[in-house]
Each structure stands twice: as structure tokens, then as C-alpha cells.
Amino acid sequence: MARSIAPAIVADGLAAAYGDQLIWRGASFTVNTGEFVAVLGPNGSGKSTLLRLLLGLLSPAAGRLEVLGTRPHRGNADIAYVPQRRNIDRDLPVRGRDFVHLGIDGSRWGIAVGNAASNNQRVDEAIRAVEAQAYADRPIGRLSGGEQQRLLLAQALAGRPRMLLLDEPLASLDLRNQIVIAELVAELARANRLTVLLIAHDINPLLPIVDRVLYVAHGGVAIGKPAEVITTEQLSRLYDAPIEVLHDSHGHMFVVGLEAESAHHDA
């Protein structure tokens, strides 16, 4: 697939902080339009913080950040965001379809007047794109994690974005569903020419589909192809601690020696 030259994200000497607490700094990287980037790193290392910067919910502590040719700003209609999910209340009396509908006009004032038909058609299209027709009319709290994830993806797509930011969409899914959802995201990104940043814990379900990996750890950021970044040398340098990357016979990667580090960052 041909990719346009204009980058989707440009970060230069970027630093993120909450008040006085520095999360990471010195991040300089470029994400190309249409690229699929997995964001990895231990808990609390600042992966979600990166998404908050891109969404304009947090201002850079230092450095420069450009998203889709502009500075990040809240309410950018070109960026769709699927946050990390807490459990949706089982008794929430709202259909999945209504959630999807919010992606189109949820931020407009007032009640919906006119163009109901065309909006409903867009909702239907988004639901079909994620193959959720069978359960889109059921209360969303009663659906399985994978089904909810599909509908939240549909909500993101319904707004017709150019960039998709997903925070741990594979968490709390079993391995089979992780692969199915990851492939669905990749397919939708290809069909709609979306740039995707997807935060994940485990690179393995994503290995067949990611273009590059953005590793956030120990106050810094590294980007590259999975095979370049997820290596014993690179990660040991990034963490400033002995880290080992093991490979199994299927090409899966396992990072060993992170447990103490992630516990430290959680605090």
C-alpha cells in the first residue's frame, strides 16, 4: 500500500510531566501516515500519557509535538480515542448502538434534529465494519469483553477519523480474541487509511501486523521495528538494567527481568 510522505506525528525533544513529576523526556520520533505502531512498556511508564499529549488533554512539559499537521488540541475530530476500559456496568440500560451513535454527534449541543436517517446509516456502517450486527441492539453491559471492544471500535470509526489511539484494547481478552481484535484493527486501519497507536502489554499477538514499536520505559522512549527495539541490548540500555529477550520456535518474544522494574514504576 502506498503511504503518503507527510508524517502523522512528529515529536522533537518531547517531555511529559504531571506537575513536578517528570514521566519521560527526550522523545524524538516520527510516525508516518498509515503506520501501525504498538506502544509498549511497563505499567506507569507513561504510555497513556503519550496518548493524552496527542489528544491535547495534557500539554508537553518541553519539546515540540505535531499531530496531523497541527499542534494537539482537545476535540480534534480527526483523532478517535478508545480509552482503557473499566468494566461497563452490567445493568447500564443503553444499547451498544447508542454508544456507537455518540461517536458521530455526541459532542454536539442539543437533541438530534434532522439527518437522523443518514446518521443511523453511518452507525449501521460502523457496526457492520466491526461485524457486531448480531448484538449491537443489546444492552452493552451484558456483552462479552470482545463484543464491547468491537462496539467501542465502531464508535471510534463512526466519527470518520484519520488517526486511531487505542489504550490497551486487548487487555482482559483471551488469546484467541486478542488476535481477532488485533487483526480487525489492522484491517480497519488499512481500509480507512488510519494511523494507529495501540498500547499493549504483550507484543506477540501484534507481531504479524505492527509496522513499528514505540517502547516507553525508564523515563525515555525508543522507536523502531520490533526486531530492532525488542532486543536484549536495546531494552537493557533503555531500562538501564539487565533485561533479556527470549525467542520461542514460533518467533514469539518474551521480555524477562521486568517484574522488579514495573513494580518500581507502579509506586
Binding site: L92, D137, S172
Partner: protein
């Protein structure tokens, strides 16, 4: 002739036109129906979001804070409604600013509620007036509403309903999916404050009908029932308003014929409707695919750590 007319027992029977004529014979009944209807519409519409946002207890507490305001206003020679509005709106703004942090704070909310009732008790005692005033604020005095009150209720009710409609979509977005709504540029915090202030106005109005203690019946019960019968937000709002109006009309009607307070009948009807809805609703909203329902639940159980 007028003596004879008054002496006749109020008509009740199958002639519905005559029943309605009977109900509207006196000005106090007309006022009760007019104010009650407006209050019910506003309580139902706002109540839907109260239940959806998990603010039932906060709404209840607001009305108690209003009790301190109303009795305090009487003490200083002001109209009770002024004190009600000032106290509930200030408390509502604070609660709204707390936003999501308000959830699960039932100990704090409960303590503020109890202290407000205590303050109200002190103000009532200091006023040295009759206890009727306090009873009226606590349990409502729907049959004591003047035409001036009706006009005020109409303005307040219309304003609250219009305000909710004006922010309907972003409010729903912020209620269901706060993080995404915020990223999409919805002013989540401002909406939270605005909603609680509008709720404060609705609560202050509803105090006239059912009083401070019985407010759950008009704000929470209709919405809670509606949410068991429809999974579409727009229908939920309409159904909640409709139910609130029906409860009010039914309560007023029964109270006209029987020598017991309207507040008792309105809350009784609301309570038993909720019980019936709880018993009936599971089979109504989830008739399809019970098999997949169980599968989905099992799958979810497997996924949760």
C-alpha cells in the same frame, strides 16, 4: 344552593368526564394538578440522568440541604423557596465540581445530609412558629399552592427541562463515556456542575409537591423504572417523565377522595410500580437469546482475573 352543592359527596364513578369535573372543581385542586404536572415532567427528565449518573443519593441529600435553606429563609423573613434554591444550588455546584469523585462518597454525603436536617431543626425551633411549616417542607403541601406558586413552578420547570434538552447529547456522552467525551472536546466538568445546579432547581420545585423526605418518589423511581423497560436513552427520558406525571396524577386523585396525604399516595404508587417493574422487567428487556446471554456471561467470567 352553594351549601347544597358543597354538601354533596364528591362524585366518583365510571363517568370519567364527571370525575375530571369533580377533580377540577376547586382552585386548590387545579393548582395542585398544574404545579404537580410541571414538577413531574421536570423531575422525570432530570431523574433519568440522575439514575444513569449514579447520583440518586446525592439528589436525596440535596433536598435535605434544601430543608436547612428553607427553614433558614423563614427565620430571616424570606420566602422558603428562596432559601431552598440558594442552599441546593450552592451544594449542587460543589457536588458537580467534585464530579466522578462524588461516587462512593456516601458517608460524607450522608453526614452533610444529617447535619442539614439538624440545622433545619434548629432554625424551626428558633423561628418559634408552628411545626406545620417544617412538616410542610418535609412532606410537601401540594394542596396549599397559590396561583403565584404555579406560575413560578412553570417557569422553573420549563427552564430546567429546556436546559437538559440543550445539553442532551454531550450530557449523555459525558455520562456514558466520560474519557472519550473529554477527548472529543465535551466540557465534562462544566457539564457536571451545570447538571447538579439544574438538578438543585428541580429538587427545590419537587419539594413543594412531595417534600424533602419523599423526593425519591418523583426523581428516582420513574427513571429507575424507565431504565428497566427501555435501552434507548431518548425513550427512557420520555418514559420517566410520563411515569412521574402518572404517579402524580394518580396520587392527587386518590388523595382528593381519601382523607390521607397526597405525598403518601404518590410515594406508595411509585414504590409499588418499582416493585412490579423489577419483577416484570427481566423478562421484558431480555427476551431474546437467553442462551447467548449465559454464554457471554461465562466468557466474561473467564476473562476477568
Amino acid at each position: 344552593m352553594p351549601e347544597l352543592y358543597l354538601a354533596a359527596a364528591p362524585y366518583f364513578g365510571w363517568d370519567l368526564v364527571r370525575v375530571v369535573q369533580e377533580l377540577f372543581r376547586y382552585a386548590f385542586m387545579q393548582h395542585a394538578f398544574e404545579a404537580g404536572t410541571m414538577v413531574a415532567i421536570s423531575a422525570g427528565v432530570i431523574g433519568y440522568f440522575v439514575v444513569l449518573r449514579g447520583l440518586s443519593f446525592a439528589a436525596h441529600a440535596l433536598s435535605h440541604i434544601g430543608f436547612a435553606g428553607a427553614t433558614g429563609a423563614v427565620l430571616t423573613g424570606t420566602a422558603p423557596i428562596v432559601g431552598l434554591l440558594v442552599f441546593t444550588m450552592s451544594a449542587g455546584a460543589v457536588m458537580g465540581a467534585l464530579g466522578q469523585r462524588l461516587r462512593g462518597r456516601d458517608v460524607t454525603i450522608g453526614l452533610v445530609m444529617a447535619w442539614s436536617l439538624g440545622l433545619g431543626l434548629l432554625f424551626t425551633r428558633l423561628y418559634k412558629g408552628s411545626a406545620n411549616l417544617a412538616i410542610g417542607i418535609l412532606f410537601g403541601q401540594i394542596f396549599g399552592i397559590t396561583s403565584q406558586d404555579v406560575a413560578l413552578t412553570f417557569v422553573a420547570g420549563a427552564v430546567t427541562v429546556l436546559l437538559v434538552l440543550a445539553v442532551y447529547r454531550p450530557l449523555l456522552f459525558a455520562t456514558l463515556d466520560e474519557e472519550v467525551a473529554e477527548a472529543k472536546g465535551v466540557p465534562v466538568r462544566a457539564l457536571s456542575i451545570a447538571f447538579m445546579v439544574v438538578l438543585a432547581v428541580a429538587v427545590s420545585e419537587a419539594v413543594q409537591v412531595v417534600g424533602v423526605l419523599l423526593i425519591f418518589a418523583l426523581i428516582v423511581a420513574p427513571a429507575a423504572i424507565a431504565e428497566r423497560f427501555t435501552t434507548r436513552p431518548s425513550r427512557g427520558v420520555l418514559l420517566a417523565a410520563l411515569l412521574a406525571v402518572l404517579f402524580t396524577w394518580a396520587g392527587l386523585t386518590v388523595a382528593y377522595y381519601l382523607p390521607y396525604p397526597a405525598g403518601f399516595f404518590i410515594t406508595t404508587i411509585a414504590f409499588w410500580s418499582y416493585i412490579v417493574a423489577r419483577l416484570a422487567a427481566p423478562t421484558l428487556t431480555l427476551p431474546r437469546r437467553r442462551g447467548t446471554e449465559i454464554l457471554a456471561r461465562d466468557e466474561q467470567a473467564r476473562h476477568s482475573p
